[in-house]
Structure formats: structure tokens, C-alpha cells
Symmetry: C2
């Protein structure tokens, strides 16, 4: 499969490199194709470095991994025509770290996932992976136990594709929360995640569920 | 210990009855002391039925278990003078179910816990238990595994008292998230909790944490 990964930060790097390990063709997209982090990815993995539009045109599946604050800007540069009909995996969290504690810029009555789906109605948006650290995203086996990841999206076929991708990363407990409006629930986990990072002293954790047996 | 439990719904009933089981003196507070549910509690358990002010005056520790939408109204009726200097345990979630999916009426840059602490600066507010179902609150042993509950509050002595109370209910994994502003993180778990209720088909569940061992 060909993937376009938009974003060169920790999340984009982790995903693009993992996809290369799994044998996929990967273009990492940045504002400029000359972006040093994208070029380092390409040189080290045999992937490609492109601008956002190039990576979006290249990918059969697109992963949005820029910071949530710049989501629409990056996706507009990627181009609606390069996203139409494709699975668009949104992993972003819109955190404003200028406030303490950090706050979400979209929340409660809306979400980034929904915002992106509205802005690109022909893309098949699936929100996932935004509730865990980059290392855990691509290697869930690094944590013991059957810990969980979530899917939210309006297109069941797209969610099936994303479920298969997550399974190839090693995920076993993948919970389908329903339509894209469930992105609110995923994104609103972030304040607790940040506090637990402080409490545990590591971002290398995740949630498991327990329920009554009878 | 003498407890004043404000609220006659599922959460208030579960807590007041559990406190009676543990041998505490309990007054259940309602808008009117003649409230049928409060009187049923009193008749069945040997506790007392009072109005909000009476229950707040009676309790050495106060538990706020009304619906979040009426929190300040109920606490104003309870009276600042009856809350001053006391541990005030806030369990409420301010959900507006007229919207689908339900939304929070206070969120992100504020929380109900903080709102209550600001309105009653002499109360020692601790936010806890709002992330689980009423049955789980008072009987965590009904679920397998070491599942978690959170504390947020500015007063360490108050948090110590609440930790002891939770321990007496059977809680073993009690996570102190810091000051009362951490109530935001707890309250923002509610949208995910509601979706998981739908997904699992039961509210009888909770979160556990897994982390990397090294």
C-alpha cells in the first residue's frame, strides 16, 4: 500500500518509519519538500520526502499527523482533490500549551475529527491513535496487557481498513466508537492523559478496560 | 463519622447506603426534607432525611451528589456557612442530555469542581468518583483487576480523608492528579464513558492503566 504521512514530528516519524518497516511505500509530507526531517526520513528508510500536496497525491491512504493547531492549513495545502475518496486517518490533538493546564482549541460540541470531515466531505475520515504516545501507537506490544485504541468515523469500509492497519501494528483491542462525532470523546481524553504523564513520570502508558463478568 | 449526602438519585442513594453499611451516621439532603426518596433511605437504613441545609449542617463531611446542572443551586441552599472548613466531595457531572451526543455545560478551561471551589472558597473541595457508575463507586470489588479512581483538590488533608474513605469502600488504585483544576481531566472523561457504555452494553466497567515496565 502507498501511504502519505502529513507531518514530520514525533508522530509522523513514528508512523512513517513503522509503515516502511512493514514494507509499505511511504511519502512524508511537509510544508516544503526540502524539509530536513522529511529528507532524513527518506534517506534513512528509502521512503520519499514531498510537500503536503505531493504526499497526499502519492498516498492511497493519508495520515494526518501535524499538530492539531495547523490541521486545516496543512490539509488545505494537501488539497481536497488529493484527499477525495481516500481514507484520511486523523491522529491530531489541538492543544494550546500557552495556557496552564493546556486547553483544547476545539472541544465538547465539536472535534478536530469532525472539523476535518466537514472541511473535506469527500475524504473518508477516521479518528484514531490520538489517545496514546507515538511509541505506543506503532508498537502497542511495548506495554503489557490488552490495552485499547479507538476508531471514530462515518465510513465503515474506511474503519475496516484502519482496523487492519492497526492490527498490523500489533493492536488487539480496537474499539469502534461509531461515527466521526465520537472523535470528541477521544480528543477529550487528552487532559487526563497529560496529567497521568505527570503522575506516572512517563508517557509510555495506556488504558485497559475492566468490566463485570456476569 | 457524620456524613451529609446532598442528592437523592442513584449516586446519592448508593453512597448514603454504603456509608450506613460502614457504620457512619448519614443525613440525606434534598430540596425538601419531605422528599420521598430521602425518607425511604432514612426508613430503610436508620439514616436521616433532611433538607440541603440540614444535611450540610449535620455532616462533618459533605458529599455533593446532585446532578451537575443544579450543583450551585443545591449548594447555595446547603449554605456556605454549613460547608466552611469541611471536606466537600464533588461527584457531579454537568451533562446536557438535550443534545446528542450529550455535552458538558462546563468544560476545558473550567470544571464543575473548580466552579464549586470558587463559589465556596472555605470548603475543602475534592473531586472524585465522577468517572464511574454508582455501583462501582461504592463497591469497586465488583470489577476484576486494579482499576482506577482519581482525586483532585487543593487541600492535601482533605484528599487524605477522601483517600481513606475510598479505601474503606475497597478502592486500591487511587490516583492524586493534583489541584482542583485536575477536575477538568476527570469531567472530560464523561463523553468517552458514555460511548463505552453504549459499546459494552453495560455501565459496569472502569479503566485500568498499563505502563512500560522498564
Amino acid at each position: 500500500m502507498r501511504y502519505g504521512v502529513l507531518g514530520t514530528g514525533m508522530v509522523g516519524q513514528a508512523l512513517a518509519r513503522r509503515l516502511r518497516e512493514l514494507g509499505h511505500e511511504v511519502a512524508m509530507g511537509a510544508r516544503e519538500a526540502s524539509n530536513e526531517k522529511a529528507r532524513a526520513f527518506a534517506a534513512e528508510t528509502g521512503g520519499q520526502a514531498m510537500d503536503f500536496a505531493g504526499a497526499a497525491a502519492f498516498g492511497e491512504v493519508i495520515i494526518h499527523a501535524t499538530s492539531g493547531a495547523h490541521a486545516l492549513e496543512a490539509l488545505n495545502q494537501a488539497g481536497a482533490e488529493n484527499l477525495a475518496g481516500k481514507v484520511l486517518i486523523d491522529i491530531s490533538n489541538a492543544l494550546d500549551f500557552s495556557q496552564k493546564p493546556p486547553v483544547l482549541s476545539v472541544v465538547n460540541t465539536d472535534s478536530l475529527g469532525e472539523t476535518i470531515q466537514r472541511a473535506f466531505p469527500q475524504a473518508r475520515v477516521v479518528k484514531t491513535l490520538c489517545t496514546v504516545n507515538a511509541k505506543v501507537m506503532v508498537d502497542p506490544g511495548r506495554l503489557p496487557g490488552e490495552h485499547v485504541v479507538f476508531l471514530s468515523g462515518n465510513d465503515n469500509g474506511a474503519k475496516k481498513d484502519v482496523r487492519d492497519l492497526l492490527t498490523s501494528f500489533g493492536w488487539t483491542a480496537i474499539i469502534d466508537l461509531g461515527g466521526i462525532e465520537g472523535a470528541r470523546a477521544q480528543e477529550m481524553m487528552m487532559p487526563m492523559w497529560l496529567r497521568l504523564w505527570g503522575h506516572l513520570g512517563t508517557p509510555d502508558f495506556n488504558w485497559m478496560l475492566t468490566r463485570r463478568a456476569d
